[in-house]
């Protein structure tokens, strides 16, 4: 049974110190209002997993000191350039980066989704990505001679966390084509969702809607959060990316002082509004 909450902070309270958390990429559904609440709580030592990359939300969490490990194929603000707090943290050695390549993240999540101990994948051999991942192994393809292949262990997040356009009171969440959110929810132990709107009725009743819906079976808890992905947009809605704000973030977050001012204004300062 999905827990329907009425308070963003109650959902944020479910993000515990040290949790391993699957994060969608910027163009999917980022639960930014929730992350602001999490930062206000002062959560520590998160292990972020970019599915397969992350951007603004992860950079914000890193800058706010919430993150111990970033496991991802990339961290970027896209056209706004390098993720400044990630870059600074890596150079300072204050976070551990587990560099990956996109399909390796997907392979690990899919192994968890399938209940398999690992997935194998092509590529990677001879790269420093592989050389630096002692949690990955090269094994022999048993169906061929002298054919090494990389085994990626099941990647089971404690939490999948994202924002979506709509959900119903049964906990069913509509995500459209953003199926990485579904793989995340299947793979994770628990899934926390913020949504633009909790609608009446049953999203599973209409075959068109059902096709893009994560069943409530996988959704632990949920809260309505209007414009919850801001400053990111939300696919299949009219919520566009607030490019001006991201540009401002990229500028302010270049320095620790600027980032502190950003937090004060846009994270701590937004508490009353959220």
């Amino acid at each position: 049974m999905t827990e329907l909450l009425t308070d963003l902070d109650a959902l944020a309270a479910k993000v515990r110190d040290g949790a391993k958390i699957a994060l969608p990429p910027d163009y999917s559904g980022c639960a930014n209002a929730l992350w602001r609440a999490v930062i206000r709580r002062g959560v520590k030592d998160l292990h972020l997993i970019g599915v397969p990359v992350f951007g603004y939300h992860g950079d914000l969490l890193i800058g706010a000191g919430c993150v111990a490990v970033a496991e991802t194929s990339a961290v970027t603000l896209g056209e706004h350039g390098l993720a400044p707090r990630f870059t600074a943290a890596v150079k300072a050695g204050s976070i551990t980066v587990k560099d990956a390549t996109c399909p390796a993240i997907h392979a690990g999540l899919q192994a968890a989704e399938r209940g398999a101990p690992f997935s194998v994948m092509r590529g990677l051999i001879g790269s420093d990505i592989l050389a630096r991942r002692d949690d990955w192994k090269v094994i022999d393809n048993p169906f061929a001679e002298n054919d090494p292949v990389v085994a990626i262990p099941a990647l089971t997040p404690d939490l999948a966390v994202f924002h979506a356009a709509k959900a119903d009171r049964h906990g069913n969440v509509w995500i459209g084509v953003r199926r990485e959110l579904m793989v995340m929810a299947h793979a994770a132990r628990d899934t926390l969702v913020t949504v633009e709107e909790i609608v009446d009725g049953d999203l599973m009743a209409d075959p068109a809607t059902k096709a893009g819906t994560i069943p409530g079976l996988y959704v632990t808890a949920m809260v309505e959060a209007k414009r919850g992905s801001w400053p990111q947009g939300l696919p299949a809605t009219d919520l566009a990316v607030d490019q001006a704000h991201l540009a401002r973030y990229a500028e302010m977050a270049r320095t620790e002082e600027g980032f502190a001012a950003y937090l004060a204004e846009f994270v701590v300062g937004r508490e009353a509004a959220e």
Partner: protein, 253 residues
């Protein structure tokens, strides 16, 4: 790079690059383009237009030019299935063995510079038959003898599954072919204004230089018209800034 090439008509360097890349894509079934790749994106759209829409183009991060419905994994699955014929990769550093580095300079644990990360390169470079490397800053700082971090190697041992790999490398100065047998870049042509010597001065790795190195051909009038008309419009949906800078200003001039 945004100025027209002084000694040539009014053709811009970007237009030469787009034309050159498109020539490597003609006849392919499916070309995918990663994020932040306006020149390759325009080249793919040009190849599509010239194919009578037979060449499919998938642009990542674009809602309009993205035909995937199975989430973030589908591009990689599609490549693994052999359904993607060409892709583009860049690197903060690229070396003479076609290794690319998208991660860091110096010790990766305490790097002097850190870049976003390897994205899908650690897979796509192995499985896509025509990976076209592009680096629009051709200097000894970027084209190095040995990269500091191998996001993906240019070549692999014979027992490593590797249907894909580097097909060519284009920079703002020249075009390199790839000699897969000898695992070396071969200077194919120099862009207008460059010489065999200027390439040598700005390249940090060894490569082969044939006796004759032509100048990279310019697009003909028909191609230029197509590029500045239809393709400019299409690329503007994805990269409005690029379209304005390269094509919009040009048209207004």
């Amino acid at each position: 790079m945004s100025a027209t090439l002084s000694s040539q008509s009014d053709v811009r360097l970007e237009e030469i690059l787009i034309h050159t890349i498109a020539g490597m894509l003609d006849g392919l079934r499916h070309v995918a383009v990663g994020a932040s790749s306006p020149v390759p994106g325009a080249a793919a759209l040009l190849a599509r237009a010239r194919s009578g829409e037979r060449t499919r183009v998938s642009v990542l991060g674009s809602e309009d030019h993205n035909f995937f419905t199975d989430g973030g994994k589908e591009l990689f699955d599609c490549a693994g299935q052999g359904r993607i014929d060409a892709f583009f990769l860049s690197g903060a550093q690229i070396d003479g063995n076609a290794n690319i580095n998208l991660v860091s300079i110096g010790d990766p644990d305490l790097p002097k510079a850190r870049f976003p990360g390897s994205f899908g390169s650690g897979y796509l470079y192995y499985v896509v038959p025509r990976v076209i490397l592009f680096r629009l800053e051709h200097t000894k700082r970027t084209l190095v003898e040995q990269v500091d971090f191998i996001s993906a190697p240019g070549f692999s041992e014979p027992n490593v599954y590797r249907p894909g790999g580097p097909f060519a490398m284009i920079t703002d100065r020249c075009l390199f072919d790839v000699d897969k047998e000898r695992r070396r870049f071969v200077l194919k042509s120099v862009h207008p204004g460059e010489t065999v010597e200027s390439i040598a001065e700005n390249t940090g790795f060894d490569y082969d230089v044939p006796a004759e190195v032509p100048t990279t051909p310019l697009p003909d009038a028909e191609t230029l018209a197509l590029m500045r008309g239809r393709i400019a419009g299409e690329i503007a949906e994805i990269y409005p800034g690029f379209a304005k800078r390269v094509f919009g200003l040009e048209k207004a001039a």
